[in-house]
Each structure stands twice: as C-alpha cells, then as structure tokens.
C-alpha cells in the first residue's frame, strides 16, 4: 500500500467494508498493549536502577536504558508492516569491527539511536492510552448497539445499552442495531486516521533519514567496488595466465624444436637461439607482471605463504612470523599483502636497513600486520605516493595504517584491518588426498 496509501484508501467508497479498519484496530490494540507493558517496565527499571545508582552499579544500567529504543524500534517497524504492508529500513549502520564495545560506541554515536529513544518514550508514556481509548471506543460503541436486540431477546425483559439507556422494546433495539452498523462504518474513519497518524510519527522517527540512506548506500557501493576491483585483478591475472603466458611457452617450445632441426653452428641456428632468448625474456617479464597483479600463492595459500614469498624476493633479509587463525576475505588478504609488499619495497629502496621483520596476528576481530626495519627512519607518509596509495588501499577495507619512523630509526609500519576469519585453519592443502 505504501506510505500515505492508508489516507488515500480512506477516501474510497468501499473503505468501511475493507480489511483496512480491522488492520488499523489490530495495530492500535497491539501498540496500546505493548506501550502499556513498556511503560510499566520502564518505570520499574528507572526506579530500581535509580536506587542502585547510589551504590554506583546502577549508573551503567541507567546508561544502558539509553539503548532501549534500539531494542524496541524493530518491533514498531515490524508493526508498521502490519498496517500498510511497507517495509521500513533499519537506520543503523553495521559496526565495522565485531564485538560489543565497537557496537556500543557506534550506537551511542548514531542520531538514529536517540530518535528511537524519543519515540520509545512517547510510545510508553503518551501514545498507548490514546491507542487504547480510540480502539476501545471505535469497537465498543458499535458492538453495544449491534448487541442490543440479541441481548434483549435473550433477557426477555430489558437490555441496558451502553450502561445508560434501558430499552424494553424490540423495535427500538432493532433500530439501535441498524444505528450500530452505521456507527461501525463511521468509527472506522477516526480509528484508521489515528492509526495512520501514529504510523506516520513512527515512520518519521524510526526510518533512516536521507543522510543515513546515503551513508548506507555509500558503504555498500564501496564494498561492491572493492570486490569488483579484486575480481578484476584476478580476471586480468587469469586471462594473462591462460592466454599470453601459455602461447609464449608454446612459442618457446616451437623455437626449441626448430633449433633441433637447424644445422648446428649455422646462421639459422644462431638466429633461432636469439629468438628463443627473446621469448624467454618475455616469459620472465610476463611472469613478474602477473605476480605483481595478483600472486597465485596468495589465492592458493593465503597471507603467511604470500608474505614469506614477498620476503624471499626482498634484497634485505626479512624474518616472517605470522600467526593467523585461517584465511580471510580476498579483499582483506589483498590489502594486507600489498601493504607488506609496498613496505618491503620502501625498505629496500630508502631505509638502508640491514634487517626487517614481518609480524602478523589476529585478535578481537582485528588483523594486525607489523613491518619493522632497523634502517635510518624518517619515512614521511606524505612524501611518497606509495604510502598514500597504501593507506587508501587499506582504508577501503575499513583498515588503518600507522607509520612510526623517527629520524635514526627504527621504522614500524602497522596495518590494522577489522575482519573475521572465513574458516578455521583447514588441513594443509597439500596433505589432503
């Protein structure tokens, strides 16, 4: 039906006979009842926590009451669906890091949390009596009028309509029944109007604002971009591996076979040998290029092996110590790996270091990789594009990069990426049959 659909539906002639007034009555009944319960619960909680505040333990409990709206709002958003069938989006952001502290920090900072608290207080102390009075009036008055004749016939003598009007005549009771039908139809309008008004207030306070919707869209579109970027690198790597690389191997093989047929020491043999050297050089360059785009060892074995490989390639001796619980999402592994590569390249190029160390660990939802070197220090994050690009690359997976490089050294580059392991450490891939 959608937002505002309820109002438009009320203008249609068949409105009173539709299901909508019944849905409105159900909505107000439920919100009234839960509002009453919420009122009682909140009063008790405030009194008890307030008393406990004297001995200090109540203070954090009172602070936690600030989040009561976060707990109650999903219920109200669900009820909106009962009334007009529209889904109301959750205005909250998903915390980047797992764990309660990160969740609490985010929730207390969000504007949506306080809007939800405001609505919850309204629902608990103001709205529920209105809800119950309106739904009660709209149902009870027509019900009494309609019930006059059957009750009179059952009693045989008299019926007391709405506790104020004693009726003896079946004719009058029958007329009241007809009036009851009309009253039911008429009551449907204020009933539905109050329900729709309450729903509009709930929607105003509990749905995401324009800015929150934009933030949500930006977060998800950035995640999609990162994934697309990662997938694209892998596609390019795969295309080069399956295409150009195989063809160059085949070319080198064909040249090798041709050399067997060429007379030894002839000009042809010399030229074929030169051609094959060129093919070999092209293969070696292509191999390095592919490795730089996306190393296969990272896909196959994950960060520890890929970092050990990067260390192997470094002219500065590098010690590698990574203690990780398993594999991570491809984008996370890529960001970590390329950060390590860039750091090692900087060490080789600028630091004058004699030794370097890569240390990695995972705790409390945070992957931390430290790259340390004993070089001259004084690395400036603003100086080279390498470090800026690195910081960008890490930040797209919500990570952070810190550099500590005092003049005279040592230099410590730390990459922190919030993430969760994909699975516990699988059995070593090379050991499974």
């Amino acid at each position: 039906m959608g937002e505002g659909g309820v109002w438009r539906a009320m203008l249609r002639p068949e409105f009173a006979c539709s299901a909508l007034p019944w849905r409105a009555a159900g909505y107000l009944l439920v919100t009234g009842a839960t509002g009453a319960l919420l009122c009682a619960g909140l009063l008790v909680a405030v009194v008890v926590f307030g008393a406990l505040a004297v001995v200090l333990v109540g203070l954090p409990l009172l602070a936690a009451l600030g989040l009561v709206g976060v707990a109650y709002a999903p219920w109200e958003r669900g009820l909106l669906r009962l009334l007009d069938g529209t889904r109301v989006a959750d205005p909250h952001q998903v915390p980047v890091r797992p764990g309660l502290p990160a969740w609490l920090r985010l929730r207390y900072r969000e504007q949506a949390t306080w809007r939800e608290l405001g609505f919850t207080v309204l629902a608990a102390f103001l709205l529920w009596p209105v809800d119950l009075i309106v739904v009660g009036g709209a149902l009870v008055v027509p019900a009494y009028l309609l019930g006059a004749l059957p009750l009179l016939l059952a009693d045989g003598e008299q019926v007391n309509v709405l506790k104020v009007w004693v009726v003896h005549s079946p004719v009058v009771a029958g007329a009241l029944g007809v009036a009851g039908l009309a009253a039911a139809a008429l009551c449907a309008y204020p009933l539905t109007a109050v329900a729709a008004g309450r729903a509009a207030l709930a929607r105003l306070l509990l749905s995401p604002t324009g800015q929150e919707v934009r933030i949500g869209e930006l977060v998800s579109s950035r995640a999609r971009l990162v994934d697309a970027f990662e997938a694209e690198r892998r596609r390019i790597e795969r295309d080069l591996h399956d295409g150009a690389q195989q063809r160059l191997v085949a070319l080198s093989m064909a040249l090798g076979l041709a050399r067997l047929d060429a007379p030894a020491g002839s000009a042809l043999a010399t030229r074929l040998a030169a051609a094959q050297r060129e093919a070999g050089a092209a293969l070696a360059e292509l191999r390095e290029l592919i490795h730089g785009i996306h190393p296969q060892v990272l896909t196959d074995r994950g960060l520890p092996d890929a970092c050990a490989d990067a260390a192997d390639r470094s002219p500065v001796p590098v010690e590698v110590r990574l203690d990780l619980p398993g594999r991570f999402a491809p984008a996370v592994e890529s960001a970590g790996y390329f950060a390590v590569c860039e750091a090692l390249a900087n060490i080789a190029r600028h630091s004058g270091a004699g030794a370097a160390r890569i240390e990695g660990r995972y705790a409390d939802g945070l992957l931390t990789i430290d790259v340390w070197d004993d070089g001259g220090g004084g690395a400036d994050p603003a100086g080279g594009t390498g470090l800026t690009g690195l910081a960008d690359r890490v930040s797209v997976v919500d990570g952070a990069l810190t550099l500590d490089s005092p003049p005279g050294g040592p230099t410590l580059l730390r990459v922190e990426i919030p993430c969760t392991p994909l699975s516990p450490t699988p059995p070593s891939p090379t050991r499974c049959a």
Partner: protein, 226 residues
Amino acid sequence: MHPAEPDPTEPDPLRIVLAEDSVLLREGLIGLLARFGHQVVAAVGDAEALHAAVAEHVPDIVITDVRMPPGQTDEGLRAAVALRERRPGLPVLVLSQYVQRSYAADMLDSGDGSGVGYLLKDRIGQVDDFVAAVGAVAAGGTVVDPEVVRQLLRRRRDPLERLTPREREVLALMAEGRSNAAICRALVVSDAAVGKHVGNILMKLDLPPAEETHRRVMAVLEFLRA
C-alpha cells in the same frame, strides 16, 4: 641452462601420464616427448582425471601442471603430492608458472624427496635440457628450477651460512639435478675439487652417512627448506 649431458646409452623410452589443461601445451608436449622416443600414455586436463589415469596406466613418470580446473588453484600440485603419498617412489615432474619456494618444497617433502622435479614452463623450450630433466626425475633424481634455486640463494639461513660461496654454488647446481661431471664443466674445475666440495657440503649440513645418491638428495632438501 646447461647443455645436455652426453649419454653413452640411448635412454629407455618412458611411459608418461601428462596433466595439462591448456590444449596448446598438451599437444606440444606430446609431440616433443614423442620426438625423443617417449610415449604419453594418457594426457588429461584436470586432477581427478590425473588420479584415474595413473591408476589405469601405472606410468614411469607423471608430468603435471600446477594450476588446473575446476578450481584454477594449485590442484595439480596437490594431486602430485597425493599421488606420491599413495604411491611412494612414483616420479613426478611439476611444470609451473610460479617461482615459488613453498610449492617446490611441497614436492620435495613428498616421499623421500627422490624422483621429483619442479621446473618452470619456460624450460620446456630448452628441449634437450627439458628431456634430460624428465629422464633424471624418472630415474629417481631431484630437479629444481634454477630460478627457484636463485630465489633460495638470496635468503640467508643458518645451516647454509656454514658453506663457503663456492660450496653454495656447487649445492645450487646439485639442486638443479646435475651430476659431479656436469658440475665440473659448469664451474670449470677438476673432478677432484667438485668431489671435495660435495663432501664438505654433506659434512657441514650434518647429513648422516648413507648411500651417496640419497645424501645428495638430502642436501638439496636441506637447501630448499626454510
């Protein structure tokens, strides 16, 4: 690569199972090996078919690619290691596009490290050397690509610290699967000098006295392990 070693006897024709998902290379390799009298008894394109083909044909040597369908990860390498576990002593030569110590080490750690090889696909073009390497692996030798060996030499690791530069050179050549005679020619030194270097290497790496070939393999393994 070094020139092919002159072999007084024509090598026995080998029965080969080949696993390579690129049709271009598969057909090329079949033709190349046939030219040297070897027979590719089965050529397959994925790891599962490789297992089946080895069970059916019981070949003299398996030559396999690293990356294969369906996962396009290191399935070929894993299949090679699994085959070596199931059939100790089955010679396996892995053809790879990756200069990757950990991949080569997986192969060398399978079984007792004899009858294995890890070569870059670039080497196929050096036809004589490539075919010689196939023969060496089939005969129980250990062959590691010079590029991988070079990467290893850049690393500084303790057991190897004790070797002199010359001894390291000799060990690197041993890892490439060369005989003492071939090492003499490559380094232009006397046979006796190479023998002395090899002896020193085996001693410095604390390898237990055993049959000479086995100790050579052990030395290469020591060299490749981190």
